[in-house]
Symmetry: C2
Subunit: 356 residues, 2 copies
Amino acid sequence: MNKETKKIDSAADGDKKQDIARAAPTSKDVARLAGVSQSAVSRVFTPGASVSDATRERVMLAANELGYKPNAFARGLITRRSRLVGLVFPGQMPPIYSLALSHFCQRLHEAGYQTLIITAENVSNADEAVRSFFDYQIEGLVVASATLSSQLARQCAQQGLPVIQFARRERDASISAVLSDDRLGGKLAAKALVESGCRSLAYVAGHQGSSTNEDRYKGYVAQLKKALSSEPLYIEADFSYEGGARAAHQLMREGYAVDGVFCASDMIALGFMDTLRSDYGVRIPEDISVIGFDDAPQAGWKSYELTTVRQDIPRLVEQTCDLLLAQMEAPGTEATTHKSSVELVVRKTVRGSATG
Amino acid sequence: MNKETKKIDSAADGDKKQDIARAAPTSKDVARLAGVSQSAVSRVFTPGASVSDATRERVMLAANELGYKPNAFARGLITRRSRLVGLVFPGQMPPIYSLALSHFCQRLHEAGYQTLIITAENVSNADEAVRSFFDYQIEGLVVASATLSSQLARQCAQQGLPVIQFARRERDASISAVLSDDRLGGKLAAKALVESGCRSLAYVAGHQGSSTNEDRYKGYVAQLKKALSSEPLYIEADFSYEGGARAAHQLMREGYAVDGVFCASDMIALGFMDTLRSDYGVRIPEDISVIGFDDAPQAGWKSYELTTVRQDIPRLVEQTCDLLLAQMEAPGTEATTHKSSVELVVRKTVRGSATG
DNA sequence: CTGTTAGCGCGTTCAC
DNA sequence: GTGAACGCGCTAACAG
């Protein structure tokens, strides 16, 4: 008779299921097939719930047969945990950002989170996009792009949504940040340049108003003042190869005598060097020494061998994730700023340092 | 007494709201404040629903005051439309991929979709990660990384989930793809090299087994056979700067006499050229002509001026999104393959073409 | 055009 | 340890 009931069951349920094979199976379907209640199924898929080994096995069997997986939406609706974090990245990513991105994905995935991503250029765009994240109940936010409007930042804080700025900081420090010690980087660059004998220094800037640009410049200037009692020439640009190229043209056009240049990023330095060499026959480092920032893969390419200030991206990402995860566990935590040290990677664009 | 009731009211409702100010407001909250039913609120936020201007206004007012936004999880649960699409990207992205990524984000956002992303190296990893997408009821999937296992691909097809391969294809064409005409690219490279006078050709390969590598090689060989009745030297590598560098060393070590080389990607070509020039004093294009593939930003840099086969990434992304969106509208559509034409970008790494 | 009602799939009480 | 019942926030079908 056991047989009989079984037969009837599988006949009744089975056919119905075949017809709607396309629709994803629900916990109810699994429950029916396993001959248990829906809540039993739920418990099997809820870590730390008490289920007997017997039922667990039966449920898992049925679940596998049906290809059942809990619906994250339904689960999120009730647990109020979406297991979603949002990433805001710049539209045109410098190389180190795409590296950071993949590390974020990997790390968050390992921690059991899914990653929503948007790319944004200007602030208003970022704001709007971030707001669309809220619909999906994100539990955390990493901002590696343009800063959010302070209004939106406040809004996040009020709702208890952890936000971490990656590789940049807000002026008021009311929102957490993980970044490199940009000032130290500027200092290291100044030191290296001065020690190599440079006396007429310049700075090729990144995006005006970005904290990274400002801090790198401040560190550079401070050290230069201390060592040489002089300020560097400031050349405006943006964080790009083209920006560096334009800066080189400007420098040559103006006819400034400069023998050492610190660029706010490697991309800038590469464009700067290329233009100096190709269009003006300037030799590096014989005529001008150049130092970059980031240690992007391209900095190590044989055409450049750029001496640069290294940011440890994997470590930065790691710290960002750790901080975010921690804040998501304990909402309402104070905003903190992690500053990672940087180091000078000596290659061949500074005079005398290639001695060997 | 008006005052009194008011006080009581605000004490009852107000405080309650203040206390739980953290919890996101629901449509019920808005309904109460606007003095309408909950479904009225829902309709206001449902495009194409019939609501009178009067109630719409009242609802919007209340919604704005409370900062209400519909919960995408609850909505998705009932509409069965998550408005989520998944992206699978390689762990270490070549420059054109990060460009493609930002275009995807932008385009999908414009179309009203959110973007879930994972990065994956090997197949098993990708499979597992893609499965985790299913929990979130993604409506579409773009795969720009390692191919999915055929088992998983079948599974997607069965569930009626549109999948598009970006810049790569499966051998059996059972799954949609949007890519460049890699064979044509190979042909163009061969033609340009031969026309410039090269007679001893080589090919520096990308990842073995990838469709892009194979197709580019096939087109190259076919054209070479036709024009020169000879096959090129095949040098194994992978899609990276380092791969190109290794290939250069191998070529020089073996002592092959080669005067024209087609590299499976720009990154390969850059590494190849750098090593040839720096380590062996080879002049390009005087001694060896080189052609790449992609037209990555770096190919245009002044140190390289690489002649290359251009992929129009924005257009590829556009087509991918269009196809995906179309398939999401009409599920069960046949798999199709879009091949985009490519063009040769002539710069300065092929002999004679820099005439001017 | 509006309110009422009934679920979407699941986690979580609460008795048993 | 287990099942019944409830509700998360919302859309859809139905009367009025």
